[in-house]
Every structure is written in structure tokens, then in C-alpha cells.
Point group: C2
Chain length 170, copies 2
């Protein structure tokens, strides 16, 4: 049970842009930061631009920037759009379902409810909650914790002291 690398990069590209507001981020910069090929990131960036999440500027001095405010981008929505396979059990895929238990079984409903609970958490968190702005090291970033539905597993909002390692903005 894992998310695709594609979804991982979609989230990280959006987070990187959110962490560098007010300037264009280049594909070369994203590729270097994430140690992934420019071609792979081009697809990610183009898909996010098509969804209206990024604005791209071509040519010399060009790059990408976040179009909506980070607080208006829900993590759940990004994951829902980028993941193509939610086949939790065979019967999720009706075209391939050969299971003879289907008539009497409630497995599909159970996994459907579990998936809804999963997205309920992700829909309660926005890009602003997870990616910035960078706060001073002595000031804990707890903004998003309150958004996670009460009664869930306690969520820590780690603020690392290593953030100085991040490249300074151009």
C-alpha cells in the first residue's frame, strides 16, 4: 500500500514553490533539489499547470510559481488527482473482479470507508499547513495540527533545526 513516486513529486514541487514565494522556481532547480530528471519533473509541472495549480513562464528567466494561495490547495485533492490506482482489493476493479465471494462480502464497503477516513485527514490539511512559511527555529510550527480531526492519532509538527541547510532564496 503505497503512493506513486509521481504523487510524491507533485506534492514536493508544490511545497517547494510554496516555500519560495515571490519568485519563479526553475525546473533545473527542482531537479537538483529532488535528485530526479528534468524530463520527469517536466511532466509533473505540466500536469500541475493543467490543473491550474502552477503558472509557467517560458524562456530565459522563466520558471514556475504557485497560482492559488497555499492555503487554498488541499493535500487530499492533490493526491486524488495524481493517484490513478485505488484498487485496494480486487473487487474495486469491476472489470477484473472474478471473486466468487463478492455477492456475500462486505470487504469493498469496509475498504471504501477506510479510504474515506484516509482522505478526510488529507482534505483537512492544506499546502500552507505543511510547507511554510519557514518560521524561526525557536517558534514551533503547529498550525496544521489543529486541522487534523480530533480523536485521531496525535500529530507532531516537526520543525527541524536543520532548515538552515535549505538553499537561500535567490
Amino acid at each position: 500500500m503505497r503512493l506513486s513516486d509521481y504523487t510524491d513529486y507533485c506534492l514536493r514541487v508544490l511545497m517547494y514553490c510554496a516555500a519560495h514565494p515571490g519568485r519563479l522556481v526553475t525546473i533545473a532547480e527542482l531537479a537538483a533539489q529532488h535528485e530526479v530528471s528534468k524530463n520527469h519533473l517536466m511532466k509533473v509541472v505540466n500536469d500541475l499547470a493543467r490543473q491550474g495549480l502552477l503558472e509557467t513562464t517560458r524562456g530565459r528567466g522563466g520558471g514556475v510559481r504557485l497560482l492559488p494561495q497555499p492555503a487554498d490547495i488541499r493535500v487530499g485533492e492533490v493526491v486524488r488527482r495524481s493517484e490513478t490506482d485505488f484498487r485496494l482489493v480486487e473487487c474495486f476493479d469491476l472489470s477484473r473482479n472474478a471473486c466468487v465471494l463478492t455477492p456475500v462480502c462486505r470487504l469493498k464497503s469496509v475498504f471504501g470507508a477506510a479510504l474515506a477516513a484516509y482522505f478526510e485527514v488529507l482534505d483537512g490539511v492544506t499546502l500552507a499547513d505543511i510547507s511554510g512559511p519557514v518560521v524561526p527555529a525557536d517558534q514551533p510550527a503547529v498550525a496544521f495540527a489543529g486541522r487534523v480531526a480530533a480523536g485521531r492519532q496525535p500529530v507532531s509538527a516537526p520543525v527541524s533545526r536543520r532548515r538552515a541547510a535549505l538553499k537561500p532564496e535567490a
Copy 2:
């Protein structure tokens, strides 16, 4: 984001045994019912036996049967034991994590909370809730619905009229 076929078969083998109490189920029967090779199912059955969920009897007239009561087997526990990869985002895998955003990002916490919510639903459901006993077609099987945490997406408990298609018990 999908579960492995292995987990799917673990659940279905347990459900099939729960739906056929009081007799031994053969590997050949499971293989025929699920249209999957005997070798593949042997691994599933052996792993479930090692976990104390199935009892296996070798030789002529042998087969497998559920060891605990279906009400004592939590779906969440079966999934937790059979899935080996919960790498929802890169930073879940510390050995491979090259993300420069890690210090300032709360993505891992968010996906950790989402995964906890997912398992909270699965842990609230037992094998008894999803696999039987087979009830008359005019009597809706709603037992498990009440177990799914209140406030979650409504869960339907489909009772198909096609259950007559199930092989009669030997």
C-alpha cells in the same frame, strides 16, 4: 495507492474459510474459486498458518480451517501483517530519503495521521463482520455497519441476490 494482491488473497482465503465453518477447505478448492495458482495460495496459506490464523491438515482428506473465531480476527491486523510497503511518501523510507524539504515539512506527519485513520476503520471490523454467516436473501446483513466509527462515510452492507451462485458446502 493500492494493496498488494497478496493481501487481497490473505483476506479472501480467511473469508472463504469463515464462510465454510465445520469442514476443511482444500487448496485446490481455494485455487479454483479464486482463479489463482495453487503455488501462490500455498504461500498465503502457510503464512496465515504461521500467524496462527489457519490450521492445516496434511494428506488425503486434509485441508485448512480457521483457527480463531472469525470475530477475533481484525481486518486491520491482517492487512498490517501482509502489507510490507507503507511508503506513502519518500520520507517514510529513511534509507532512501533525499528530500531537502524534510527539515521544514510536515508531510510525513500528515500521511501518518491519514494512515492511522485508515487502520482505525479496518481495526473496527472483524472477519465475522465481512464474511458471514450467509443470511437469507430477505434479511439484510447490517452487522458490521454499526462497527464503523460514527461520523464516517455511510457504509452500505450489500447483500447480493446472487449468493445462490456460491458453491454449496460439501
